[in-house]
């Protein structure tokens, strides 16, 4: 504020040079420019953060909107009564399933009329909508002759195009007439939906089922590969936790300062940055080529992922061991404990919450890892069913969630893409649960010294 108190006399003659703004309230050009660039810079920063968050939102909405249809399925529910005479007559026919199909269509027509609607349709259209119905019905009545004469309800899965139509994947505009579905069939579907015969129900099969063949997207489920992932995570947990903790204890508490210790440390930090696919190559060459362990087995997948997770676990375990203050060790040593006792009885329990948090995060990483699993053969049509027992769960070919998602994404049929998105929702639910668990563990048990 000294400028303003100066008297005009001692100022240089104003006329001698062009006068700039004297007032501090009026900004000169340079200041204005600098302020503008300041503002711009800040907006770039805000913009960058917003772009990042925008991508996150887009990703989340895409996953949810594309994946939800995988959890529903479209069924055709028809109830009708088949009498003993009709059954006998149908069994006498040359084309038996054809005869049953006629019963089905008749019942369908009846139900439609009951709800006051009439659409002309033929057997071919029905076959396009629900597939071959005759066989299913015949098998049912052959297996349960007692059901003859009393009303029986049939829930038949609608074909994948009809499924797509009811959940918005297929529209009238995008549908091209083919032997799978014709445009005119959509009218029938519409009125069947209105009559409550075609319904959308929760698809339990997607959560509990196994993978289906390439021609049956509707029957594909992620359950078997969830089990595969579970067995893999068991292997990872029971190998990487003890090995990782033991290695960290050695490096943090016992290792002498020498070149070999340095070598181990450099190794660990480099392993953390090796691309995951290289671990897959390692698994293929060592576990499958060299040790002849079974291909596509969760055991091998677990071993590969263990090697991959070890650096993560070692790094976080060392951090939590380091966080335990030396006074704890000194106190234990002071009352006569050996170094080993002071660590296993005092330091390790105190570091445990941190170690478990790190382990859970490491496991979550391993759970989402795909690339190494492709190389050890957990891809393709491998998750065909649940393992028979606990031991075979480790050795029988199975897939894992991310590998199953990849398998579906690599198939040509669009209906599988929906399953892939649905699989991602399941996978992310698991990951989210694990991460929340880690956060809770950290909040509840971690001590600050």
């Amino acid at each position: 504020m000294t400028d303003t108190t100066l008297s005009p006399e001692i100022r240089p003659a104003p006329a001698a040079e062009p006068v700039k703004s004297k007032s501090l309230y009026a900004l000169d050009d340079l200041t204005r420019k600098r302020n503008a660039s300041e503002k711009r810079f800040k907006f770039y920063g805000i913009g960058a953060v917003l772009i990042g968050l925008f991508f996150l939102v887009v990703l989340a909405t895409t996953i949810i909107s594309e994946g939800i249809p995988a959890f529903t399925r479209t069924i055709v529910e028809v109830e009708f009564t088949l009498t003993q005479e009709q059954y006998d007559a149908a069994e006498k026919e040359l084309f038996k399933t054809k005869a049953y199909e006629q019963f089905f269509i008749g019942a369908l027509q009846g139900q439609l009329e009951e709800s006051g609607m009439s659409v002309p349709f033929d057997a071919a259209a029905i076959e396009r909508i629900v597939g071959k119905t005759g066989g299913t019905i015949r098998e049912f009545f052959k297996a349960n002759p007692g059901a003859l004469g009393s009303p029986a309800a049939f829930e038949l899965a609608a074909s994948s195009r009809v499924d797509g139509y009811t959940n918005g994947r297929v529209t009238r505009e995008t549908l091209t007439d083919s032997r799978f579905l014709e445009k005119s069939d959509l009218d029938i579907v519409d009125s069947l939906v209105e009559a409550g015969i075609i319904k959308t129900v929760f698809n339990w099969n997607f959560i509990t089922g196994a993978d289906s063949g390439v021609d049956n997207p509707g029957g594909a489920g992620i359950g078997a590969s969830v089990v595969g992932s579970f067995f893999m995570m068991l292997v990872v947990l029971f190998l990487s936790l003890p090995i990782g903790v033991a290695a960290s204890i050695y490096l943090e508490e016992f290792a002498p300062q020498n070149r070999f210790t340095d070598l181990i440390e450099v190794n660990i930090s480099n392993l953390a940055a090796v691309p995951s696919i290289v671990f897959g190559i390692l698994g293929l060459a060592v576990f499958i080529q060299f040790m002849h362990l079974p291909q596509s087995a969760p055991l091998v997948g677990g071993l590969v992922l263990t090697l991959m997770t070890l650096p993560t676990i070692i790094i976080s375990t060392r951090a939590s061991l380091k966080a335990v203050p030396p006074s704890i060790r000194d106190a234990a040593l002071g009352v006569g404990a050996s170094k080993m006792q002071s660590i296993f009885h005092h330091v390790l329990p105190l570091a445990m919450p941190g170690i478990l948090t790190g382990t859970i995060i490491g496991l979550a990483q391993a759970l989402g890892e795909t690339a190494p699993l492709l190389l050890i053969g957990m891809v393709g049509f491998v998750a065909r069913g649940y393992p028979d027992g606990f031991i075979t769960g480790f050795t029988e070919p199975n897939s894992a969630m991310p590998a199953q998602i990849y398998t579906w994404a690599a198939r040509a049929d669009y209906a599988f893409y929906e399953k892939a998105w649905g699989g991602i929702i399941v996978l992310l639910v698991f990951l989210l649960t694990m991460n929340i668990l880690a956060v809770i563990l950290r909040r509840r048990f971690e001590r600050r010294w």
Partner: protein, 490 residues
């Protein structure tokens, strides 16, 4: 299964040894714990350790060595002539192993008697069809030499396993007895046990080194094998990538340059997305944002890094690809032919790398001492001028290190390029064309039906070697720069 039971039995011996050792120590002190050198449980643990550790070591070594011994014995049995044209000893050995496994399974399911499996002759008994009937996978007609080799393979494996069981059990019992013998009140059990534990801890730390060694060895051996079948010069300087799976790789052209070009092009696009966004986000979050904004925005951004790459891959394939196609495809600018392209994979990979760049740079920017900022403000600089002229130059080495780490991530990334970048190897400048990368080709070469011994499969190991060397080099340089920089202000 027998292996499982062997392990269980050894553990049981160790447990019995624990109880016996503990009881003996207490007895030798006349039941008074105070006369013992160590706590009683240490005496027990000493016995258990001596019973279990040598036995398990022998078990592991045996399991590793036995296949080699059997392999060298069996391959001596296969006459030169029976290795057919276009085949190799390795392939014949694989056939022998498959046949032996088939026999084993057939005997286990009761479709063959053990006697028959041991004595059948491939030229008299119709072994191939019988194995196929038993549901076993046999790839070709089993000839008599292969059959004979498979039979002795079976016998060697079973005798080997028998000897292994005996030796391991003897080692466990002997170790246990030795432990019990040396147990008395004077014996320094705690010291012995703790020395043992220390060795165990050390070997756990050694696994990291062994893993690296395993990676290097498996890459080197198979790469050398590949270069024996395919000239190294053609691999490193070839401009065409066209593997032919049919003619056993004879007519394949396996030049790595198109793959490297694709890899670097996609990584470049990814970094061009991630570096500006990540850097600006880091600057904003560390210099401008208030604690509340920071507490919300930083974890949210880091979620992007925690999402599995398969999700990004699917996002590229099914969302970004079609979106770009509608803008640049035939209905738009007409320079894009399919949804899978360099741009698709690069953009999505860039999104994945944003949090990677931003949180690393954030740490580095925060490490710049506050005094430097204060000095700059004191001279009248605005915040942005301080960032541009003081903080970023000071943090530059660290930021370069972060970018190099991100680049190594981008180069090694697999799922996004497998799903989003296409499969055609091309040397092209158009970012809207499909190209492929080293990692994508590793996957496609090793998940096909090609035999491990053929060049088209082995090339994956050479590609993996290249990838490993490049990413390791980048990491070492990056860590070196980061570490060097850190010392300046501490």
């Amino acid at each position: 299964m027998s292996l499982f039971w062997l392990v269980v039995i050894v553990l049981a011996i160790a447990f019995v040894g624990y109880v016996a050792g503990r009881a003996r120590a207490l007895a030798s002190a006349g039941g008074d714990m105070r006369d013992l050198h160590s706590l009683p449980s240490y005496y027990g643990a000493n016995v258990a350790m001596k019973a279990a550790v040598p036995a398990f070591l022998i078990l592991v070594l045996w399991l590793l060595v036995q296949p080699f011994v059997i392999h060298s014995n069996i391959s001596g049995m296969i006459p030169e002539g029976s290795v057919g044209e276009g085949s190799s000893l390795g392939l014949v050995m694989a056939e022998v192993r498959r046949a032996a496994e088939g026999l084993d399974n057939a005997v286990a399911t009761g479709q063959m008697t053990d006697d028959f499996a041991r004595n059948a002759r491939a030229d008299f008994n119709d072994i191939t069809t019988r194995l196929k009937e038993a549901g076993q996978i046999v790839t070709s007609q089993i000839t008599q030499p292969i059959m004979r080799a498979a039979q002795s393979y079976r016998i060697m494996v079973s005798t080997g396993n028998l000897y292994m069981t005996i030796v391991v059990l003897l080692a466990a019992i002997a170790g246990g007895l030795w432990g019990i013998r040396e147990t008395n009140a004077e014996f320094r059990a705690r010291n012995t046990v703790e020395r043992g534990i220390r060795v165990i801890l050390f070997s756990a730390a050694l696994i990291a080194v062994l893993t690296t060694l395993g990676i290097v060895l498996s890459l080197v051996f198979n790469t050398v094998e590949f270069f024996r079948l395919y000239p190294a010069m053609d691999f490193f300087f070839g401009l065409t990538w066209s593997p032919s799976f049919s003619g056993r790789g004879g007519s394949s052209e396996l030049g790595i340059l198109p793959l490297l070009w694709g890899t670097f092009y996609i990584s470049f696009v990814a970094l061009a997305v991630a570096v500006p966004i990540g850097l600006f986000a880091a600057v904003y979050l560390s210099e401008y944002a208030g604690p509340k904004v920071r507490a919300v925005a930083k974890p949210l951004l880091e979620i992007l890094a925690g999402i599995p790459t398969i999700v990004y891959g699917l996002f590229a394939l099914l969302t970004v690809g079609p979106l770009l196609l509608s803008a640049f495809g035939d209905n738009g600018l007409g320079i894009m032919k399919a949804g899978t392209a360099v741009m698709t994979a690069g953009l999505v990979m860039g999104v994945m790398l944003i949090p990677f760049v931003s949180s690393l740079s954030d740490d580095i920017i925060n490490a710049v001492p506050q005094a430097m900022r204060d000095g700059s403000y004191g001279l009248g600089a605005t915040k942005s001028e301080t960032v541009k002229l003081v903080i970023l130059p000071a943090a530059l080495p660290g930021i370069v290190g972060a970018i190099l780490l991100a680049a190594s991530r981008a180069i090694g990334e697999t799922m996004i390029v497998v799903l989003g970048a296409g499969a055609a190897a091309r040397l092209s400048l158009n970012p809207f064309e499909a190209m492929t990368t080293v990692t994508a080709k590793i996957v496609s070469q090793l998940t096909g039906d090609a035999d491990f011994a053929s060049p088209v499969a082995l090339v994956a190991f050479a590609l993996g070697m290249t990838l490993f060397v490049v990413t390791l080099g980048l990491n070492i340089v990056a860590l070196y720069i980061v570490r060097k920089y850190r010392e300046q202000y501490d």
